[in-house]
């Protein structure tokens, strides 16, 4: 019996993720913790602050190629976006437009807006979206990594879907309203947020990969996410051409999908329809990817 191989991405902190994803000693942080850019809102409320306001931004290398990296700390206030946190992300994206790295690596681990900073947080998320589109407009791809304990929800769920590629682990989750929000608003009959298996069948990495919303599905290992970055660097997918026609085509596809699959209430129903098998949720990542490929 050996140890579980490799460091878990889900259990790693934002800083450990950055260190594990980039070439050794290649990271240079912007607005690091010593700058003490902490949240004035949390301080005013008498709540604990963090020296980096829960996000690490800077520049490093992946196989020598320069990348901008953004990593949210899911353990600090659920990775929620506050004013400073959001400004750091926006600033990193704007700097990327100027400095033209090979790509922007965006480790999303967030439930969305930081409620304590509601308006500032909402503004920050829309600024992030605009800045991200500007990066893509400059021809620089943005790759989202979603494998933290908070997943990518709320505004950050939208941000993830703007990216050119989304790397997820099975443990990662991606959605708009979080499970608890849906249960609160629509009732437990509509969605039982405590049914963890259901939550993952509806928002988890496997269903997102099945729907094509995640580009790659990897195991919950830092090294697996790193390997995914290496292969993205070579394949360099682009989300979609930024033309009105292309957008309309995607819109049509989504409308068709919504009609075709309107009766599906659960990821398993889709897997059944596709013939993936009753044990789709249980399969390990490699097997799942293989089955998907066979059916494609």
């Amino acid at each position: 019996m050996n140890r579980i191989p490799g460091k878990s991405y889900r259990e790693a902190t934002a800083r450990q993720r950055v260190a594990g994803l980039l070439d050794a000693d290649s990271f240079a942080e912007w607005v690091g913790p010593a700058a003490r850019a902490t949240s004035p809102h949390l301080a005013a409320l008498g709540l604990p602050c963090s020296f980096d306001d829960g996000v690490v931004v800077g520049q490093g290398r992946v196989e020598e190629a320069v990348v901008t990296i953004i990593a949210q700390e899911g353990q600090f206030n659920g990775g929620a976006v506050g004013e400073v946190h959001g400004a750091k992300i926006r600033g990193a994206l704007q700097r990327a437009v100027r400095e033209r790295p090979t790509a922007v690596v965006f480790c999303i681990d967030s439930g969305g807006v930081r409620l304590h900073e509601a308006n500032a947080g909402l503004l920050a998320i829309s600024e992030i979206m605009r800045a991200l589109l500007a990066v893509q407009g400059a021809g620089i791809p943005v790759w989202a990594l979603v494998g933290g304990s908070c997943g990518a929800f709320g505004g950050m769920g939208i941000v993830a879907r703007l990216c050119d590629a989304v790397v997820m682990s099975e443990e990662g989750r991606l959605g708009l309203s979080g499970p608890e929000v849906i249960e609160t608003v629509m009732g437990v009959e509509e969605f039982d947020a405590r049914d963890r298996a259901l939550v993952w069948r509806v928002t988890g990495g496997k269903i997102r990969r099945t729907l094509g919303e995640a580009t790659v599905l990897v195991e919950d290992r830092l090294s697996a996410f790193r390997a995914a970055l290496e292969s993205l660097r070579h394949s360099c997918p682009v989300a979609l051409p930024r033309t009105l026609d292309a957008l309309q085509a995607v819109q049509d596809q989504l409308t068709a999908r919504a009609t075709r699959e309107s009766d599906l209430r659960d990821g398993q129903a889709l897997w059944d329809r596709l013939g993936l098998g009753a044990d789709a949720a249980w399969m390990d990542t490699a097997q799942f990817n293989r089955r998907l490929q066979e059916l494609a």
Binding site: T13, R15, G32, P33, A34, G46, L47, P48, C49, S50, F51, D52, E73, Q75, F76
Partner: protein, 103 residues
């Protein structure tokens, strides 16, 4: 939040870090510690902000023991604490020291 600062006599740190290092995370029962240079070589400075009130004596005892164990003169440790137990505090400080010693 409760804040306090301790300046403790310490043996000089032989290899001062080139850049600030942050360890740990501010989450329930956990803390972050930022290690920087600054104080005179025979002094170590601790700045603590904590959400758990009434523990300044415990903090002082934990930090005094830490200073006895390690040569940390010339270093400053800034801590944001969200209710970590002394065991976790000590462990994070040890991990921060390890990262300083590592090449």
């Amino acid at each position: 939040m409760e804040s306090f600062q301790y300046d403790l006599p310490a043996r000089p740190c032989v290899a001062l870090p080139v850049r600030a290092e942050l360890w740990g995370v501010v989450s329930s029962g956990n803390l972050e510690v930022l290690v920087e240079t600054g104080p005179p070589p025979d002094q170590c400075r601790f700045q603590v902000e904590t959400s758990a009130h009434g523990f300044s004596e415990v903090w002082q005892a934990v930090l005094e023991d830490f200073v006895t164990r390690h040569a940390v003169g010339g270093l400053s440790f800034s801590i944001h604490d969200a209710g970590a137990t002394p065991a976790v505090v000590s462990l994070r400080l040890e991990q921060a020291m390890q990262s300083l010693k590592a090449p």
